[in-house]
Each structure stands twice: as structure tokens, then as C-alpha cells.
Amino acid sequence: MAGAGERAEPTGTGTSGDGRASGGDGVFGTDRSLGRKRLYGRLFVGLCFLSTLFGVVALALLLADVVYESWGWLDWTFLTHPPSYFESNYVDGRGAGIYPALVGSIFLIVLTAVFTIFLGVGAAIYLEEYASESRVTRFIEANIANLAAVPSVVYGLLGLALFVRAAGLGSVLLAGALTLTLLILPITIVAAQEAIRAVPDSQRRAAYGVGATKWEVTRDVVLPSAVPGIMTGVILSLARAIGETAPLIMIGAATSMFAPPRLSPEALFEPFGAMPMQIFEWASQPQSAFLNIAAAGSLVLLTVLLVMNATAIYIRNRYDTT
């Protein structure tokens, strides 16, 4: 189609010249190629619109399907009870659900957030504010960008070798959180670097001008201005981490936990479950009712994810103007 357009172009231009010379139909002469160019323009916009629609429609269909499948299965009992291998327990009876996995995921994500904020923001501050522009810095930055593209299953292998085996932690909550931290660290660093880079230099100069040290400039001027951008990046990457299954399978997280992790430091060194693992476990059960139960679990996971994304958008809009 584009080829045809290019071929037609010269003739169109030719007639437009004639049209202008003879006065033509319109005030500025006629140009038949103009109409064709507009048509191509409209076709192009149409294609772009369809591309936009594709993602939105796919997401809407997914949500509609999950809601339809889980209709009647997701209730308060589902959120507050441990899972069961008897489907009857999910409808009436003693009650069964996603509770330990939900709490496990929350523990996992809070721990991951703590590690990610310290390591990611620390690395970003160093690279942007302190490291001089050298070949080594550029090499590190290029590698961080590359690490962001490494598949999550590879991070799972790394977590297994490093935390579960070498550090001897075993398949515990801490090992899971550290593995997920490795996974999202590159994205967080890049997002935090961009937020720090967006702080205008005039702000730094203002602080230096009244006799602030580099540390004071970073603490009082750079970080406060960069925090909304940093938080947005951290939350979006945590939203990715909370849905990750492959690395958790690799490090040997529990598929079904029947009690939530305890609210004590010892929980760090105890086995843990997480929502994606539980959903995976339900979906692999033979009874057809478990498909609905898996859908109900997915809906809980999706809700947590959407809430996290909404928080990120809220933070960005709330603090962007200051």
C-alpha cells in the first residue's frame, strides 16, 4: 500500500502544478494528491487506534473471564480461610480459601520493598550523584539495563544457588524476598536514576550556593524532589514481583501453605507460600471446580496488583507539581 502511494506521488504533484497555473477549481488550485495523502493519514491513525485497542480489549476480556469464572466463589470466607484439597470445603462446609498465600505474598512483597528501596535507591544515587562519568560507570549502567531483560526463571536459578544453597537459608521467606529483589533491582535502579536526573541542576546549585555539602544537597534537595518518581518506579516493579511464579518455583517455595507466616522475625527463616504458587497448585487439580477456585485466586491477585498500580499513579499525580 505504501509502495502504491509512493508511485502515485509524482503524477499527483504534476497535476497540482497544472491546476495552480490554470487557476483550477478552488481558491488555491486543486491538488488531487492531497486527498490521497489525507486518506493515508486516516488509515495510519486507524491502524494506531487498533493497536491501542488490542491491549485494552485483551485486558478487559481477561478481567471479564476471570470475574465470570470466579463468580460465586470469591467471598469473605475465601479470603480468610486456608486452602483445602476438597472442593466441597470451598462452597459450604468449614470454609477454604487463599488466606495463607495472601498473607505470604504481602510479607514477601513488604520484605522485597525494603531490600529494593535500600539497594535500588542507593545504587541510583551513587551512579547519578557521585560516580564520575567514566568507562567503568558506563559499563555498569549498560549492564544494569541488560539485567532488566534477563528472564525471571534465571533469577530463580541464581536465587537457588546463592541464597538457598550457598548461603544455606533453605526455601524460606528471606530467600524468596532476596530473589525477587534481584529480579526487580535493575528496573528500580533505572527508574530511580531517571527520577534523580530529572531534578533540575539549578536546585542543586541553590543549595551549594548557601554552603551545603554534597551529602546535604542530596538529602535535602535531590531526594525530596526525586521521591515521587522513585516510589512510582518501586511500586510498579513490586507489582511485577508479586505476580512472579517462576523464581518462586525455582527456589522451592511451598505450593500450598495451610497456615500464614507468623508475625515474628522467625518467619524470615520459615517456609512460605505465595498467591501465584497457590493459584498454580489449584489450576493443576483434576476436579473442574478448582478452575473456578483458581479464577477466584487470580482475581484476588489481580486486585492487589491493580491497587498497587493505582497507588503508583496516585503518588505520581499527587506530588508531580511540587
Binding site: 564520575s132 562519568e133 533540575p200 539549578s202 536546585q203 542543586r204 546549585r205 541553590a206 543549595a207 551549594y208 550556593g209 548557601v210 554552603g211 551545603a212 555539602t213 546535604e216 535535602d220 534537595v221 525530596p224 524532589s225 511540587t322
Partner: protein, 275 residues
């Protein structure tokens, strides 16, 4: 003929306002000796030697790229923050070379405050903006009084006294620049550097800042970079003319520079033959 008239006009204008003060009585507080500054391979300043008198307004004028801002930044070592900047020669503040190894640039900047071209208040309250320098310098006894005093001296107190908690960014451009002046003078520096402080402002706001200059010079030594020659003539006691190549071509009493400059190139510049 017409050019000569212009010269006389500017000169007489200057003599009405600034020249009456006896500049020669003042002590030299900042003295540059054979100062060269390079950005990478490019030489931005070429052998500058000049003495800046205490508690006077000294204007640095010249065409774009002549090095006047570079000279200003070399006084409080803000050039240190620019990658690839290198300094030869000396800048003495009260006799002490600020480029000596035992001088901490942070300590130097506490004695030499700075106001920039674009108003750059922090996204904090008006109060916190003015208090920032006092806090980082540990001069935070009786903060309220010091903040009020600085805002008064920057002629901003009347306008903002009832909204000290609102953001500095909510002020108009001219108010923001006076807030930045208040922030710079609050810790009581000896020298106040101003890098084209009115060039981003409308004429009314610029005139308010100009009116401040004479008052500020009673307490501080003011060094101001400006590309506005009328402004230099109106507000300064001494004027240094930099021309392309980072050369200081002439440095004298403002009335002399605008009335009867020694150097032909300076005369050409201030009469508008180039620049």
C-alpha cells in the same frame, strides 16, 4: 556624531547616580591575580587581575561568552561543580587564596553567597527557603528573627509575612528572586555574587531588585554580572568590561567607564557598535 551623543547620555546618567560615592576609599576584599579558567581545552578566562572593593557594587559586563559569569563563579568556586573546569592563578578573599589546598569550598561558599539567573527557590515553604542556609551552617538560634530580618532586607517581608508557610514556588518571578536573595543573605555572607539576577524578570520586578542593590551594598560586597549596560550604569560603583576571549579589557569607576573609557573597544561596546 550620533554615537558620541549616546556615549555622553549614558555617561551623564551614570554620573547622576553612582559615581558620587568615593570608591577609592574602600578596601579591596576580593582580588584576582592572573586568573585563567579552562573548560576542557577551551580557555574561558585569560589572565584576569582585578580588585573588588568592599561594600560596593561591582558590575561585570560584556558580550555573551566573554567569561564574566565564569569569573563570578570562580570567586565562590562554583566552577568546581562543572566537569572539566580547571583554574590557574589566584583569587584572594581578604588576602587568602581560595584555591589553596586548605580551603574547603563549602566553607568558602558560606562566606560568599550567590543569586542565580533563574529564580530557583526550593519546593519548600517561604520560611524553610530562607532558613535553609542558616540550618546547614548551624546558625539556627532564633531562626524566626533571622528569617524575618533577611526577608526585610530583601524587601519581601511586607508581601509574604502572612504566608510564610506557603510554597516559595507560589510567588511571582520577581518575588521568587527576592526570596532567593533573602536565602543568600540570611547567613550573613561577606560577599554576594549575583549572576544576571534580573534577566529572567519583567521590567517592574527588575527595577525592584535594582532598588535593593544600594541597600545591600551597605552591608555586603555585591558583585553583579549583567548584560544590561543601563543597569550597570545605574546601580554599580565600579564596572569591569570583559570582551570575547575571556579578557578583562577595562576596570574602573562606573562613571569613567560609561563617560570616558580609555579603551576604544570598550567605547565601541558600550555605545552599541557590537555586542
Amino acid at each position: 556624531m550620533s554615537l558620541e551623543n549616546t556615549t555622553t547620555d549614558v555617561g551623564s546618567f551614570a554620573s547622576q547616580t553612582a559615581v558620587e560615592t568615593a570608591v577609592d576609599d574602600a578596601e579591596t576584599i576580593v582580588e584576582a591575580r592572573d586568573l585563567d579558567v579552562y573548560y576542557g581545552e577551551t580557555q574561558a578566562l585569560d589572565g584576569i587581575s582585578m580588585g573588588i572593593p568592599e561594600r560596593k557594587v561591582t558590575a561585570l559586563i560584556g558580550p555573551s561568552g566573554c567569561g564574566k559569569s565564569t569569573f563570578l563563579r570562580s570567586i565562590n568556586r562554583m566552577n568546581d561543580l562543572i566537569d572539566g573546569a580547571r583554574v590557574d592563578g589566584e583569587v584572594r578573599l581578604r588576602g587568602k587564596n581560595v584555591y589553596d589546598d586548605d580551603v574547603d569550598p563549602v566553607a568558602l561558599r558560606r562566606a560568599v553567597g550567590m543569586v542565580f539567573q533563574e529564580p530557583n527557590p526550593f519546593p519548600k515553604s517561604i520560611y524553610d527557603n530562607v532558613a535553609y542556609g542558616l540550618r546547614v551552617q548551624g546558625k539556627d538560634d532564633d531562626l524566626d528573627a533571622q528569617v524575618e530580618d533577611a526577608l526585610r532586607r530583601a524587601a519581601l517581608w511586607e508581601e509574604v509575612s502572612d504566608q510564610l508557610d506557603s510554597s516559595g514556588l507560589d510567588l511571582s518571578g520577581g518575588q521568587q528572586q527576592r526570596l532567593c536573595i533573602a536565602r543568600a543573605i540570611a547567613p550573613d555572607p561577606e560577599v554576594l555574587l549575583m549572576d544576571e539576577p534580573t534577566s529572567a524578570l519583567d521590567p517592574v520586578a527588575a527595577a525592584q531588585i535594582e532598588d535593593l542593590m544600594a541597600d545591600l551594598a551597605e552591608t555586603f560586597t555585591v558583585v553583579i554580572v549583567t548584560h544590561n549596560m543601563q543597569q550597570a550604569a545605574r546601580i554599580s560603583d565600579k564596572t569591569a568590561v570583559f570582551l570575547t576571549g575571556g579578557e578583562l579589557v577595562e576596570f574602573d569607576d562606573t562613571g569613567k567607564i560609561f563617560g570616558n573609557p580609555e579603551n576604544q573597544r570598550v567605547e565601541d561596546y558600550i555605545t552599541g557598535k557590537f555586542g
